[in-house]
Assembly symmetry: C2
């Protein structure tokens, strides 16, 4: 069996914790592992990692690879040159499997989003085994979830007759209004559409050729036997369309099995609240929070103190550069804040002040005309790439640990309080070959202080 | 005429904008000038600055002096070694006037808190002139404000017969319950107690001797003709008591005049909301705020983006190290947050990350075991004291402007990107004799990184 993990995502709905360059599947909220890592482990519990393909946008590829590297050696990650929704992502991944794995045409593929919470892995695996039978029989198999309340944010699936381990699907229903959602909760034949699918490459390709020939024709020209990358010019003409629109709602060859496990689509701050453990006042408090008399609220602090008094049904989220305070029934409008910031080219939409890298992280402490100051942490045994900059000089001061700096071929060992100057265009590398964590202050000076001004000569993480 | 400005204050009620070491009278919310500066200018419009005495706690004295220096040459500021409420502060200031000004016994003193908003200075001055008459006649004169709504957070004054320009006071009433407050609003004889007073030193001393001999006996021993400072041992036994309790509620020699001007006691975030200009949704937005559909709320951002959605009657205040989100009718509980933080020795109660100094300001950017990093701004023509440290080395990197550094007698001129090391115990000074603002990054290294580890040898602001 194969699995395709859909690891794209815009980062809008959990803003300010998610960002365009750090979408929600990469976040670890109250957990050690991110939603992506949890998803990978869940699938990997019964599918070998050599058969798990993650697909994401090129701008998230290095973060996805980095997170999965802690779970598997050389995880397979396909980079899309552009975000094109689920239909092109799934079709591209199916073509990858057909090209890369001999005789995979009639194997079964499990397609999973990377932002679901499922705790009962045994029950999940049991459902997958049931789905496998239907997929082998030639169905496009969807996973339905018994509705527990009239959610208007999900799509619904209406079933008809029972077949084999599941049901024949009568129709897909778009996000309903409250009245219809209330009817569906009481209708035994109606389920939530979980967004999890199973099929064979053969079935999928035949169906997509029939119902979305535009996607089929473009994807069919991809040749992963020759190269792993997809060029932008090959990809750009794919329509931006979900697999539900492109295929599921059109095909009459759809089966549904009922998902036996627990399931949560982590789609908003409200769903984070719903899934988290509450205190006696029904509040969820994460981080440094001090409350007097609030109820039914979520308070999240990532860097500073958050004090709340007398709130009800509220969401308060604090990050290093932005605060969100929102009524719980208005969390869908977070997307609108995100889009407004994007239009305003406001960086608080795009990136965090703290950016994680394979070697550790950096935090932007201060910036002004002609300068930028970062705190850089290099984990033990890690090493930044050998690099130079065309537009900036750098000055490094060691705060804690010991730095090995190679500057124009000369090695410097710096202990706390010691510093070094890196001139414009000088080839340099910052390394921590020691056992203690290294922290330094970097002061950049120059006319153009952007991340893109890095010329890499050598990199232990393959980023040259 | 003299004026005493009461410039103490605990900094609790406007937290996180106010701090124990930066109380509300020092804040400039939406204004160029702080409440203290506005108060000083108001009084100075009809009393010469040589007759205006500000009294504050020793921990605020340098900030008070610094703020008043922009309005007057050598402003008079008395430092109390300890906070002892209004009765000891007023009594001390009256003794100062008696000692320092010949024949001042029968002059009139106007006592004003430093956290009131009054725009109509002409009407205020008119009321003062009326009060002056009553003070000369030998009364302790209070200023009453016609209640506009049943406020339960103020004390009230009940008047009886009319005398001269005002009324004889029947009694002072403690903060009332809602029912009584509602009665008072409709009672023509009842006023809010503004906390503004007038009297002659002679009247005040006679009355305080009669009703609070403990205060009189201690204060009477202060001798400002010999020295301007009060020793802690002289001051510590004064009772911690308000002038209302110590004197006003006991004396039968009280007159009241009605304050003719507008008046607002800036006592809480709600009063900041009330006094500020509202937008079409009745919101007050200060700083970088993005809102969707909130109403009747105050959003205050001092450093990062604050995004709000669907709030009603809420207060959201963001500072560099703390966020407050509070229902508007619960603002009195902000004090409780402040007290809790104080008990926890949490620095977000005590100081801001950015600390203003006579020469500019510094911001703590990052700190960890054995290190502390600041961004320091030195304004043009300013100079930090000549100093040394027993427990830390420092490393300075210039970000913008030009630094003049004198280190162990040797002068260094540093342009952006250049750095200098200051060893433990080395005598050094940072100066900006140039026209451009100077910004540097300071990295402190050492076992004890506290503000108190400064040995000053020379200081242009008199702090040696």
């Amino acid at each position: 069996m194969f699995s395709i993990i859909l690891a794209g995502g815009s980062g809008s709905r959990l803003w300010p914790l998610s960002r365009e360059l750090y979408p929600k599947q990469l976040l670890n909220i109250q957990n050690k592992e991110s939603l992506l890592q949890e998803t990978y482990k869940r699938v990997n519990s019964f599918i070998p990692y050599g058969n798990i393909i993650s697909i994401t946008n090129t701008k998230h590829a290095s973060n996805v690879k980095y997170q999965l590297s802690s779970l598997a050696k050389n995880p397979i990650v396909i980079s899309e040159p552009e975000s094109k929704n689920t239909a092109p992502a799934i079709a591209t991944s199916v073509k990858y499997i057909l090209d890369k794995y001999k005789d995979s045409k009639n194997s079964v593929i499990l397609v999973v989003p990377s932002d679901h919470k499922i705790s009962d892995i045994k029950a999940f695996e049991k459902t997958v085994k049931e789905g496998e039978k239907l997929a082998i029989e030639g169905y496009l198999v969807t996973f339905g979830v018994k509705p527990s309340y009239p959610e208007t944010g999900y799509g619904y699936i209406q079933t008809e007759s029972k077949i084999s381990t599941g049901y024949k699907v009568k129709q897909f229903v778009e996000k309903p209004n409250t009245k219809n959602a209330e009817q569906y909760v009481n209708d035994e034949t109606v389920f939530w559409n979980s967004g999890i699918f199973m099929f064979t490459p053969d079935t999928f390709m035949k169906e997509i050729e029939k119902y979305s020939p535009a996607i089929f024709n473009i994807v069919n020209r991809f040749n992963f036997t020759e190269k792993d990358e997809i060029a932008y010019t090959e990809f750009e003409n794919l329509p931006n369309i979900s697999v539900d629109y492109a295929l599921m709602e059109k095909s009459d060859n759809i089966a549904m099995i009922e998902l036996k496990s627990d399931w949560l689509d982590v789609g908003s701050w409200k769903s984070i609240y719903d899934v988290s453990k509450k205190d006696i006042d029904n509040n969820v408090k994460i981080g440094h929070v001090l409350d007097i008399g609030s109820r039914d609220s979520l308070m999240y602090s990532s860097s500073k103190l958050v004090a709340t008094i007398g709130l009800e049904d509220a969401i308060v989220v604090e990050t290093e550069d932005a605060v969100l305070a929102c009524k719980k029934d208005r969390v869908q409008d977070v997307k609108q804040i995100f889009e407004t910031l994007k239009q305003q080219h406001d960086n608080t939409q795009l990136v965090h002040k703290t950016v994680y890298r394979p070697w550790g992280y950096y935090t932007v402490l201060a910036q002004g005309e002609g300068f930028l100051t970062k705190m850089i942490q290099v984990n033990p045994g890690q090493k930044l790439s050998v690099q130079s900059h065309n537009h900036r000089s750098e000055h490094w001061v060691v705060l804690s640990g010991t730095a090995k700096v190679v500057l124009e071929g000369k090695e410097h060992i710096l202990s706390p309080g010691h510093s070094v100057d890196i001139a414009v265009k000088a080839i340099h590398s910052l390394q921590n070959p020691f056992e203690e964590t290294l922290q330094i202050i970097e002061v950049q000076k120059g006319d153009l202080l952007i991340e893109e001004d890095i010329i890499r000569y050598e990199d232990m993480y393959g980023r040259v």
